[in-house]
Amino acid sequence: MPDLVLDTNILSELLSQYFVGNRRGSFFKVDVNGSINQEKARVINNIILWHESDDIDAEYPGLIIASSFGFVEIGRKFEEISHGDYSIEQFAAFIEQPPQWFFIATVELNLFHYLKNIPPYVEVSGRQKPVEWADAIHVATGMSRDSNWLLAATDERIKAIPFIADKII
């Protein structure tokens, strides 16, 4: 199973559900809600379950990954994005020590080797739209993984990048 990279919208929804406290037994599970559709929920929960259960014989499912930039975007508009679902202290604690199924990826110069392959413009609904690096960062984060990867994305421009169509859920 591949790593799952989250864009900022999906990350914020995951954090909201994580802190609201959806637990099945002792395991956290995401529900289909907001930007998390059935497919995203299935992949996320499969990763979480493997890491939190004792079934080490099951195939390693990868990690849930978000760029450190995603957390910056949430921090910049914290009240607006968190909707009061979690406190700043909880947000900080998540960054300081993420769950074992979660990895915060570094924004580093090496990402340019992947960003260079992302087109500067894509066609959305018949119109050319620019792909900003702030959105492309999530794609580059996925591409930088040594393992296979998927991207949970909501931005139409990211979803319109041709060569990652099979990576988008």
Binding site: S68, F69, F71, V72, E73, G75, R76, K77, F78, E80, I88, E89, A92, A93, I95, E96, P98, I104, T106, V107, E108, L109, L111, F112, H113, L115, K116, P120, Y121, P130, E132, W133, A134, A136, I137
Partner: protein, 140 residues
Amino acid sequence: MDTTFFSPSDVKAFIENNSVRDEITSGSTIGICSVGDALHALEDNKKRLNPLSIDQLEDRIEQISECSIVCISNLDREKLFANLFDKDENDIVTGICQDSARSHVHPRRSIRILSLRICNHSTWWTERVEEEMDQYHQEP
């Protein structure tokens, strides 16, 4: 060895014209640059009318990586936690650092502050770098 803030203008000049301030090329001063500014300049070049080729951009990156006169500071989880939050004297989080994360300033400014400000034992986050960065942020 002195350190100086390598501003977005410095990055742009380096990417587009391969030019760097004399005090940096002389080897007496190291330029300190945010990864956000570097990535933005590289990406911005792609949208120009006559962009540099990918090979030329990769040459620039290789020069940065090998010449040791410009240090590109990344933004990892540790820096994110250290710089995104205000903390009290017991290192307890008390809030979001408003200087580094405000909705009405550009995200690149947030990344610049978060990636460049490091803990006190850093040798290259100097008064000069901080003053020059603050001065840059005050420019219209």
